[in-house]
């Protein structure tokens, strides 16, 4: 069981959704993340860079059909941090529910 820890790097809406997608797969392509989040290339790049700087996301460029494509995956630290953040959100949501 992952102890609940709030992570401000992950909590921003765009980065939360990126982590939600990446936690369910091995790796996802830049274009899929951009289309899923409905954001521009530059906004997604910014989010990915912040997650990469935190050590949560690994970016890799691989050639496909003569073009270089960027693939993103969660690092082990990213998986742990995301699981801890979700646990904390669940705990906080339960507390909020009790207060209502």
């Amino acid at each position: 069981m992952t102890p609940p820890v709030f992570d401000p790097v992950i909590h921003a809406p765009g980065r939360l959704q990126i982590c939600a997608i990446l936690s369910s797969v091995d790796e996802a392509e830049f274009a899929l993340l951009r289309d899923s989040l409905k954001v521009s290339d530059s906004v997604l790049s910014k989010h990915l860079k912040q997650l990469e700087e935190a050590g949560y996301v690994k970016l890799a460029k691989t050639p496909m059909d003569g073009r270089s494509r960027t693939w993103a995956s969660l690092t082990p630290a990213g998986k742990t941090a995301f699981a801890a953040h979700v646990a904390e959100l669940t705990r906080l949501a339960a507390l909020t529910g009790q207060g209502q």
Partner: protein
């Protein structure tokens, strides 16, 4: 810049992202029907005499590699049994295929040349069924993940 969401909204956005991912993950039945041919070839190849077994196994592995590349290109995703349900389906499929390969291999020591064809046919069915079950399990696990 958007505001940080409250816990309930944040959990809902995680679920929305995963639901959306599940909807994007659909491949036609034809994909499973074609990939199953290559799984079946691995089982058939195990029961053939050399050099035919080498040729058939080579085509099987090459075909499966092409299937994986096609899937990755179509979906922009790489998934290898990251959820409990998909791990379960994959484990059942691997056990069934290994058993069928073992039967194919055993048939080499007999004069029953039809056995590899029979095990190959069964492997085809197993692969098609498990292919569809895998997709259902992945979507179900995504829905139940938060």
């Amino acid at each position: 810049m958007s505001q940080a969401p409250n816990p309930r909204d944040a959990l809902a956005s995680i679920q929305t992202a995963r639901d959306d991912l599940g909807h994007r993950m659909s491949h036609p039945l034809g994909y499973d029907l074609i990939c199953a041919v290559f799984w079946a070839l691995l089982v058939v190849g195990a029961g053939l005499q050399t050099p035919w077994s080498y040729y058939v196994l080579f085509v099987g592995f090459a075909g499966l590699g092409a299937c994986v590349r096609w899937w990755k290109k179509r979906h922009g995703l790489s998934v290898s049994n990251t959820t409990r349900g998909t791990r379960g389906v994959a484990t059942i499929m691997v056990i069934a295929l290994v058993l069928l390969m073992a039967v194919s291999l055993w048939s080499k020591s007999t004069d029953m040349a039809w056995i590899p064809l029979a095990t190959g046919g069964l492997a085809y069915l197993v692969a098609v069924i498990c292919g569809r079950l895998w997709l259902r399990a992945f979507r179900r696990d995504l829905k139940a993940s938060v």
